[in-house]
């Protein structure tokens, strides 16, 4: 379909090095699927549903704690707490749950790499994850360092609210795409 694992590509024709890159990614996905490890998860009675469950729990804890930081940034939730308290107390939970989510997600990917390769939902999801990471990194590098000034205000300044709103929208999108991978084409 002229697309790789990480982006949606609508260019009609493939040329030269691009052909080899796309084929290379597809062959890596095919190789992953052919391993005994991948097959074991794919054909398992219990491992697949257990990994799926762990993945969902990881999402719940990580996106759930991100949600409360976003709501605090937007001035909708937890307004009585200083922003830094909300963010810094929740962050260890966000990060450890994120790790659980990434590991379980990698295992699910391993069990159906070629299907993910061809799934437009998987491609969009990876794109949204990258955007969410960039958004969080920009927020922590450029916006959060000035938090002392607005820490106790119920609503953060414009750029911080923007980061919160964007994060909320991106995570809703990531979860929606993630569930679509299992069912879509």
């Amino acid at each position: 379909m002229g697309a790789n694992c990480f982006s949606v590509d609508r260019r009609p024709a493939l040329t030269g090095t691009r052909i080899s890159r796309v084929t290379a990614i597809l062959s890596i996905c095919e190789w992953i699927d052919s391993t005994a490890f991948s097959t074991a998860i794919r054909e398992s009675t219990w491992w697949f549903p257990i990994i799926e469950t762990v993945h969902v729990l990881g999402i719940a804890a990580s996106a759930g704690t991100i949600l409360f930081v976003d709501l605090r940034l937007l001035g909708i939730g937890m307004k009585r707490e200083p922003l830094s308290e909300v963010l810094e107390q929740l962050q260890p939970w966000t990060l450890s749950a994120f790790l659980v989510m990434v590991i379980s997600g990698a295992l699910l990917f391993t069990s159906e790499a070629v299907k993910c390769y061809h799934s437009v939902f998987f491609q969009i999801k990876v794109g949204l994850l990258v955007l969410a990471a960039v958004n969080a990194a920009l927020f922590h590098a450029k916006v959060y360092p000035g938090v002392e000034v607005w820490d106790n205000l119920p609503a953060a300044p414009g750029r911080a609210r923007m980061a919160g709103g964007l994060s909320l929208a991106l995570w809703i999108g990531i979860i929606a795409m993630g569930r679509a991978i299992a069912y879509g084409k």
Binding site: E43, S44, T45, G75, L168, I172, A182
Partner: protein
């Protein structure tokens, strides 16, 4: 301003999931209850895989032409609980599968059950109505 921005971002977030809803795997989104199919044919392969299994059958039409169909069933776990095993459908098995065809009109269906020549029936435990053998209980 703050409230407006909040509402706006929530709204943007809510819009995002609209696209995948079309791919929701509830029975009705992908398969058509008005297109029940009864496929009599030979099993060529069974994919015993998560999250959904697939039975591949060659169906010989009235005109003698062989058409390859793919029939979706439940996960390996769901199949085991319905009495299926990985070896239940070896290639070459002559079976009748009942189910519902895909909405896109392709030769794909979601299966209710597989019936063997000796009268045995195995339910497929997927999203098709009646795929869990409830009707027989």
């Amino acid at each position: 301003m703050r409230a407006r921005l909040a509402v706006l971002s929530l709204y943007a977030g809510l819009l995002l999931p609209v696209a995948p809803l079309g791919a929701h795997h509830s029975f009705a989104a992908e398969f058509d209850i008005k297109r029940p199919v009864k496929l009599k044919g030979t099993v060529t392969r069974m994919d015993w895989i998560n999250p959904h299994s697939w039975i591949h059958i060659d169906v010989k039409g009235a005109d003698g032409k062989v058409v390859a169909w793919m029939v979706e069933g439940g996960s390996p776990n769901a199949l085991l609980r319905l009495g299926f095993t990985k070896a239940a459908l070896p290639p070459g098995s002559e079976v009748v599968v009942e189910g519902f065809q895909a909405k896109d009109g392709s030769n794909r269906a979601v299966g209710q059950f597989v019936a063997f020549a000796d009268g045995r029936k195995l339910f497929l435990g997927g999203s098709a109505p009646g795929a869990h053998g409830d009707a027989d209980k």
